[in-house]
C-alpha cells in the first residue's frame, strides 16, 4: 500500500474520528448508559428507589398494553418503510433525469420533510377532521365515498391515516439519499448497457439496484430507527387512540416518564433500542457494509 508508516496512519485515523466520538460519548453514550442503568431499578418519583434487576422487564412481558404498542409499532414499520422506499425510489429516478426546472422540483419534493413535524402533524390532523377537513371534502368532491369518513374513528382507518401522514413526511428523506447515490453512477454505464440492447427493467435491476445497495441500506436503517421511535406525529394526530390502538412504543414510554415512573419508561426505551439494533444489523449485512469496509 505504501501509505506512510502504519502507525502514523492509524494515529491519523483516530484523530479524524476524535471529534465525532467525543460528541457522541458526551451527549449520547453517557445518557444512554444512564438509561440502561435506570431501567434496572424501580425508579418512581414518589416511591423508594430499589434495585429490581429485571423487575421492570418482567412487568413489561406481562403488560398487555405494552404488547399492543409493540404490535402496532412493528406493523407500522412494516407498512411504512416499503412504501417510503418505493416512492422514494420513484421520485429519485424522476429527479435524476435531466429536466428543465429540476432545481424547483427538488425543492418541491423537500417540502414535506422541511416542515416541522409538529406542524405537519397538526396539518394532517386538520386534513382528517370529520366536519371540515380536506380529506372528507375531497372525497365528497370526487364522489368517492358515500359520506364523510370518520378517519380517526376506528383502529384501521387511524392506522391508514397515520401511514399516509408518515409516508408523506419522510419520503423526501429517502428520495434525497437515494438521489445522491444515483448521481454517482456515471452515465457511461447506462449508455453501454443501452448499446448492448437491454431494457429499462434489466438496467434498473441489474445495474442501478446493486450499486445503490449501500445507499438503500442507509435509508432503510435510518428510516427504521426513526419509525420505531415515532412519537410526535402520533401524539398530535391520534393521541394514541382510538382505544390505545395507535399507541407507539415511544408514546407508551413517554407517558411513564411523564408520570414519574422512570424505571419502567427506561425499560421501554431499552426495548425500543434492542429492536432497532437487531433490525439494523440485519440491514447492514444485507447492504454489504461489512464486506466493503473489510
Amino acid at each position: 500500500m505504501g501509505l506512510g508508516s502504519r502507525l502514523s496512519d492509524r494515529r491519523t485515523a483516530y484523530l479524524f474520528l476524535l471529534p465525532l466520538l467525543v460528541f457522541i460519548s458526551l451527549f449520547i453514550v453517557i445518557p444512554v448508559l444512564g438509561t440502561i442503568w435506570t431501567s434496572l431499578f424501580r425508579d418512581v418519583t414518589y416511591l423508594e428507589t430499589a434495585f429490581a434487576l429485571f423487575g421492570n422487564y418482567r412487568r413489561l412481558l406481562a403488560d398487555a398494553s405494552f404488547w399492543q404498542s409493540m404490535k402496532f409499532t412493528l406493523l407500522f414499520v412494516a407498512v411504512c418503510i416499503p412504501l417510503e422506499l418505493f416512492l422514494g425510489m420513484v421520485f429519485a429516478l424522476i429527479l435524476n433525469e435531466k429536466l428543465p426546472g429540476r432545481g424547483v422540483l427538488r425543492a418541491a419534493v423537500l417540502v414535506p420533510w422541511a416542515i416541522p413535524t409538529i406542524v405537519a402533524a397538526r396539518t394532517w390532523e386538520l386534513i382528517y377532521n370529520y366536519s371540515y377537513g380536506l380529506a372528507n371534502w375531497a372525497l365528497a368532491l370526487f364522489h368517492v365515498a358515500s359520506g364523510p369518513v370518520n378517519w380517526l374513528g376506528t383502529p384501521l382507518s387511524s392506522f391508514g391515516a397515520l401511514v399516509i401522514a408518515d409516508v408523506w413526511k419522510t419520503t423526501p428523506f429517502v428520495t434525497i439519499i437515494l438521489l445522491a447515490g444515483l448521481q454517482t453512477i456515471p452515465e457511461q454505464i447506462y449508455e453501454q448497457a443501452r448499446v448492448d440492447g437491454t431494457t429499462f427493467h434489466q438496467r434498473f435491476f441489474r445495474i442501478t439496484l446493486p450499486i445503490l445497495r449501500p445507499v438503500i441500506a442507509v435509508a432503510l436503517i435510518f428510516r427504521t430507527i426513526d419509525t420505531i421511535r415515532i412519537l410526535d406525529l402520533i401524539y398530535v394526530i391520534t393521541g394514541g387512540g382510538p382505544g390505545g390502538s395507535t399507541t407507539s412504543l415511544s408514546l407508551y414510554g413517554y407517558k411513564f416518564f411523564n408520570e414519574g415512573d422512570f424505571g419502567y419508561g427506561s425499560a421501554i426505551a431499552v426495548v425500543v433500542f434492542l429492536m432497532a439494533f437487531v433490525l439494523s444489523i440485519t440491514y447492514l449485512r444485507v447492504g454489504g457494509f461489512r464486506g466493503a469496509v473489510e
Binding site: 471529534p19 418519583t45 370529520y130 387512540g241 382505544g243 407517558k255 408520570e259
Partner: protein
C-alpha cells in the same frame, strides 16, 4: 495537523461565545404555561409584584399542552434543581408531586403570616391541596363542568325550562333536532368531550356521580365497576348510538375546543364544557352571542347534580433557594386584587370566595356569581400520586365502550382490574 487543531479551537471558541446568557442568575423563577396573551398578562402581574416588593421574578414560559408542561416540571424537580422556585400545577398533579417530595409544606408560613385559608373554597383545600395533613399548594383558579344551552332555541321550541334530568335532556335534543335540521343538516342536540384523553374521565365522572356512582369510595377502595357507573356509561353510548343526539365523532375528536367551536357555530343545543367557553361565546363576532345560557349539568333520577373539579394550583419547590421571596410571590398571586384581575382580564374563576362578592365582578361578570355554588360543590378526581396512570387505563376503556369496541360492563370491569393492578404496583 496544526490546521486541524486551530480549526477545532476556533470552533470551540465560537460555540462558547454564544454562551452569553447562561441561566446563572437567581431571581425567583415562576414556571407557567398558557397562550401568548395569558403569558403577557402574567408578565404584567409579576411586573407589578416587583414594583411593590422589589423582588425580581423570572418567567419561564411553557406551551399549553398539559403533558409538555408536566414534563417541563418533572425533569428539573426530579433533578433537585433550584429553578423553578414557584410553579403552577394542574390539580391532578398535586398528588404525584406531593408524594414525590417536591412540594414545600406551607403550614408554617401560613400560620406565621396569619394567612387565612378560609377565604378559599374549603372543599378544594381539603381534597386537593393537602398531603399527609400539610397544605402543599394553593388554588389559583377553579374549573367545573357546566351545561351550556341555546336560549333562543329553548324559547322557540321548548318549554323554556332547563332540563333537570338526563332523560329530559334527550327529549329536548330530539325535538330541537327535528326542527333545526331543516335549516342546519349538521345540527346535533348535545356535544360533549368523549375523545380518549383526561377530559373523558371528567365527563364520565359527571354522568357517574349524577347517578350515585363513584370512582373511589370513602375508604380509598377502587369502585370503577360500580353498577351505577356502568349504567351511566351505557347512557353515554346511547347518546351517540341509540338516541342519536350526539355526533359520531364524539369519541374520536371531541375535546374542549372542538366542542366549543361546534356549539359556537350554532349547530348544537347543549354543550358540556368548562367556564372558559362563556367568554368566547360572548365575544364579538360569535354567532351565538347573547343566545347562550348556563345551567347545572342534569342528573339521573335519584341522583344529584355533579360537576368535575378542575383548575390550577400554585406550589413551591422544596429545592427552591428563595423560599421566603417565593412565598411572598405566592401570597401576592392569590391575593384578592390580583385574583380579581385574573377574573376580569383572563376570564379565570377565582378560588377565593370574597372575589365573587366584589362590585367589579358582580357588575362585569354576573354569570360568575351564579357559578359560585357550582364551584363550591364540585367533585375532585382521586388525589393519588399515580392518578394519571389510573386515568389512562380508564380513558382507554371508556373510549372503547363509547366506540362500541366493548360493552360498558366489560370496559369498566377491565378498568377496575387494571386499576387494582396499578394500585398494587404503585402503593408502597
Amino acid at each position: 495537523m496544526k490546521r486541524l487543531i486551530t480549526a477545532a479551537l476556533v470552533a470551540a471558541a465560537l460555540i462558547m461565545s454564544c454562551a452569553g446568557d447562561g441561566d446563572r442568575s437567581s431571581p425567583v423563577t415562576l414556571m407557567i404555561g398558557g397562550a401568548p396573551a395569558e403569558l403577557d398578562y402574567w408578565e404584567k402581574v409579576i411586573g407589578d409584584f416587583t414594583r411593590e416588593t422589589g423582588i425580581a421574578v423570572d418567567l419561564m414560559r411553557q406551551p399549553t399542552d398539559t403533558d409538555q408542561r408536566r414534563q417541563s416540571l418533572v425533569v428539573p424537580l426530579r433533578a433537585g434543581e433550584e429553578d423553578p422556585d414557584v410553579f403552577l400545577m394542574d390539580i391532578v398533579w398535586i398528588g404525584q408531586f406531593a408524594a414525590s417530595g417536591w412540594l414545600e409544606p406551607l403550614d408554617g408560613r401560613i400560620a406565621g403570616d396569619g394567612f387565612n385559608l378560609n377565604v378559599f373554597f374549603q372543599g378544594i383545600i381539603e381534597f386537593a391541596d393537602r398531603y399527609e395533613g400539610h397544605v402543599v399548594a394553593m388554588p389559583v383558579y377553579v374549573d367545573a363542568g357546566l351545561l351550556y344551552y341555546r336560549k333562543d332555541i329553548f324559547q322557540e321550541h321548548l318549554t323554556g325550562k332547563v332540563p333537570e334530568t338526563w332523560p329530559e335532556l334527550v327529549e329536548y335534543c330530539r325535538v330541537a333536532q327535528r326542527s333545526e335540521r331543516r335549516l342546519h343538516p349538521d345540527f346535533w342536540g348535545f356535544v360533549w368531550q368523549g375523545a380518549q384523553y383526561e377530559g373523558l374521565v371528567c365527563t364520565f365522572m359527571e354522568f357517574a356521580l349524577s347517578n350515585g356512582g363513584q370512582l373511589i369510595d370513602r375508604n380509598g377502595n377502587l369502585t370503577l365497576d360500580d353498577p351505577r357507573n356502568i349504567e351511566a356509561l351505557e347512557f353515554m353510548r346511547d347518546l351517540i348510538v341509540t338516541h342519536k343526539v350526539s355526533p359520531p365523532n364524539t369519541y374520536t375528536e371531541m375535546k374542549e375546543e372542538e366542542v366549543r367551536t361546534f356549539f359556537e357555530s350554532g349547530q348544537a343545543l347543549f354543550e358540556r364544557n368548562w367556564p372558559y367557553a362563556w367568554g368566547l361565546h360572548q365575544a364579538e363576532g360569535s354567532p351565538v352571542k347573547d343566545r347562550v345560557g348556563i345551567a347545572l349539568l342534569p342528573r339521573f333520577e335519584g341522583g344529584r347534580h355533579a360537576a368535575t373539579l378542575g383548575g390550577w394550583h400554585i406550589g413551591m419547590s422544596r429545592s427552591s433557594d428563595r423560599k421566603q421571596d417565593a412565598w411572598r410571590l405566592m401570597q401576592y398571586i392569590v391575593s384578592e386584587p390580583v385574583q380579581t384581575g385574573f377574573a376580569l382580564n383572563l376570564g379565570w374563576n377565582p378560588a377565593r370566595q370574597d372575589v365573587y362578592n366584589s362590585p367589579e365582578i358582580v357588575e362585569n361578570l354576573p354569570h360568575l356569581v351564579a357559578l359560585k355554588e357550582v364551584f363550591r360543590t364540585a367533585s375532585p378526581r382521586p388525589n393519588l400520586p399515580y392518578y394519571s396512570l389510573l386515568s389512562r387505563a380508564l380513558q382507554a376503556e371508556l373510549n372503547k365502550a363509547l366506540s362500541g369496541m366493548a360493552t360498558a360492563e366489560e370496559a369498566l370491569k377491565s378498568a377496575q382490574a387494571q386499576g387494582l393492578e396499578i394500585m398494587a404496583t404503585y402503593e408502597e
